[in-house]
């Protein structure tokens, strides 16, 4: 009994699984809404399968003469139509193409030409930087070592770095790769001398290329800050015409006090020199035969010599004005051109000339007329400055007053308490009434 039940169960399970398979086999022919169509569809492929099976048997049984080929042609057409109606299309095979993958860098060196050029340019730039920096430092160090003994004879400290606890000279301060500074101090008559060595930008390839179009030269600029009352009141500049004209345009004191002087021959100066001076007598006093001889001999080394008791730096840009009178200091500026073949003797001669002229200016005094003229000029400059600033100061004060009144009104409007608001309003009204009244001085009658 049990064995029979097991067999029956096994048969039932087998039947269910087969039914499931048959359902899946013909699932593509099934239509969801109509069950009858399912049966017809299930039957059709069986019939279709059966028909082609039947057909090939026919020609064997019947003679070929009785059934012409036309009948079979129709069959052929039908079979192709049936194939097309079921929806099977032939696959379109595209031709195979290789994906465009760039070839590896190691196997393709020669095509990286622009990159190689860029790297070559960068390496040239770096090499030029190293070479230019070394050369500039060499020039600065050479000048410093050549002139240090003379500087040490004239100053107590020559080459102060400003940071060492003990006063020891001999320091050349390198600001950038194309400029250096030497600070000397401890001399009678002056606070100190700042020597700036400004060289061509040899470390920059662009600078080197610009040098071909706009040639510049290496410069040594000595700036001496004199003590107050060490020099008399006059302003003057002389030197190469180009440099002098440029300085006249840039510097405030030259622009304010000096006028152009012509006739270089009259003073014995070289023809390519320019001269701007405030007081005529100072020119002939300073340009003594020794000085003129020196200037003629070392003409190519001299850029300009600027002597001023009112030095205040560069002129302000257009549109800017001074709020206060600028601070002025009596200053001497000597700008010399440094050549690569400048010998130690020439350097010494130029530096000695600086000290010679410094002592001369310290001793020189203007005549009474010259002094009066200079003092008048300085006074008029001060007065014009005060006038222009007075207007500005008035405008600033007016603006401040208006701003204050605005804030008070704003405070009054924002005040929530009505009593406080009224009090503030009264205060403002009183102030306005007082402003409107003409200002009269009260006189006490005794």
């Amino acid at each position: 009994m049990k064995y029979m039940i097991l067999v029956l169960l096994f048969i039932a399970l087998f039947g269910i699984s087969k039914a499931g398979l048959t359902d899946n086999e013909f699932a593509e022919f099934e239509v969801a809404d109509e069950e009858t169509q399912k049966k017809a569809i299930v039957d059709e492929p069986i019939q279709e399968v059966e028909e082609p099976r039947k057909l090939p048997t026919k020609p064997k049984v019947i003679d070929e003469e009785e059934f012409p080929e036309e009948e079979f042609e129709n069959f052929d057409r039908k079979s192709t139509q049936e194939e097309s109606s079921t929806g099977s299309k032939p696959l379109e095979i595209k031709p195979l193409t290789f994906a465009d993958i760039p070839s590896h860098f190691r196997s393709n060196w020669s095509s990286y030409q622009v990159e190689a050029l860029a790297l070559v340019l960068i390496s040239i730039y770096i090499l030029n930087y190293v070479y230019g920096k070394m050369r500039n430092h060499g020039i600065a160090n050479k000048w410093f070592s050549d002139n240090l003994p003379l500087l040490q004879r004239n100053f107590f400290v020559a080459g102060d770095d400003g940071t060492s606890t003990e006063l020891e000279g001999g320091h050349l301060i390198k600001d950038t790769d194309c400029s250096a500074q030497v600070w000397c101090s401890g001399r009678v008559g002056c606070q100190g001398m700042l020597t700036q060595i400004k060289l061509i930008k040899r470390q920059d390839l662009l600078g080197v290329i610009m040098q071909l179009f706009k040639p510049k030269s290496d410069r040594v600029i000595h700036k001496i800050d004199l003590d107050n009352n060490e020099m008399d009141s006059f302003v003057m500049i002389l030197g190469q015409k180009k440099s002098v004209i440029k300085a006249y345009k840039d510097l405030a004191d030259l622009n304010t006090y000096t006028t152009e002087r012509r006739n270089m021959d009259k003073f014995g100066l070289p023809s390519n020199f320019g001269l701007y001076a405030e007081i005529a007598e100072s020119i002939s006093s300073l340009l003594d035969p020794t000085t003129v001889q020196f200037l003629s001999k070392y003409e190519k080394y001299i850029d300009y010599i600027h002597i001023s008791d009112q030095y205040s730096g560069a002129k302000l840009q257009e549109g800017e004005t001074y709020t206060r009178l600028p601070e002025t200091t009596p200053t001497l500026i000597f700008s010399f051109i440094l050549y690569e073949d400048t010998s130690e003797e020439i350097n010494a001669a130029l530096l000695n000339f600086v000290f010679y002229l410094l002592e001369k200016i310290r001793r020189y005094r203007l005549s009474k007329e010259g002094k009066n003229k200079a003092d008048k000029k300085r006074q008029s400059v001060e007065e014009t400055f005060l006038k222009t600033t007075h207007l500005q100061r008035q405008e600033a004060a007016q603006a401040r007053r208006e701003e204050k009144a605005k804030t008070e009104k704003q405070r009054m409007l924002e005040e929530e308490d009505p009593e406080k608001q009224r009090a503030l309003e009264d205060k403002i009204r009183k102030k306005e009434a007082k402003m409107r009244q003409p200002k009269m001085k009260q006189l006490k009658i005794k």
Partner: protein, 110 residues
């Protein structure tokens, strides 16, 4: 003109060196090259990174080099280093995204 006279040195009159304040120092037009180069370098780096132009990245690197060579004593080193880093990253990123070489302009001539 030779200094053979009395000793004019005064030890009690020594004034220590004070470096020029960078904010107050006047900057002339000729000295503004590092600023221009820095700005150009940044612009080219951004063009190279965003528009994937390799030549822009290389030009940015050259501008950074020029900016470095023209630095003043008062300039901050951080700015130059960041400019270099930006230009190098522009070059590296351009080649990581597309390792093909730049087509040279003379390639079409031959």
């Amino acid at each position: 003109m030779q200094a053979n006279g009395p000793d004019l040195r005064r030890p009690n009159k020594v004034i220590r060196y004070r470096p020029v304040d960078p904010q107050n120092a006047p900057v002339s037009n000729e000295d503004s090259i590092p600023e221009y180069m820095n700005l150009l370098g940044m612009i080219f780096s951004m063009c190279g990174l965003m528009m994937r132009l390799k030549w822009c990245a290389w030009v940015a690197l050259l501008c950074s080099c020029a900016c470095f060579a023209n630095t003043r004593a008062t300039d901050d080193a951080k700015q130059i280093v960041s400019s270099f880093m930006l230009s190098i990253s522009a070059v590296v990123m351009s080649y990581l995204q597309n390792p093909t070489p730049i087509v040279p302009p003379w390639a079409n001539m031959f």
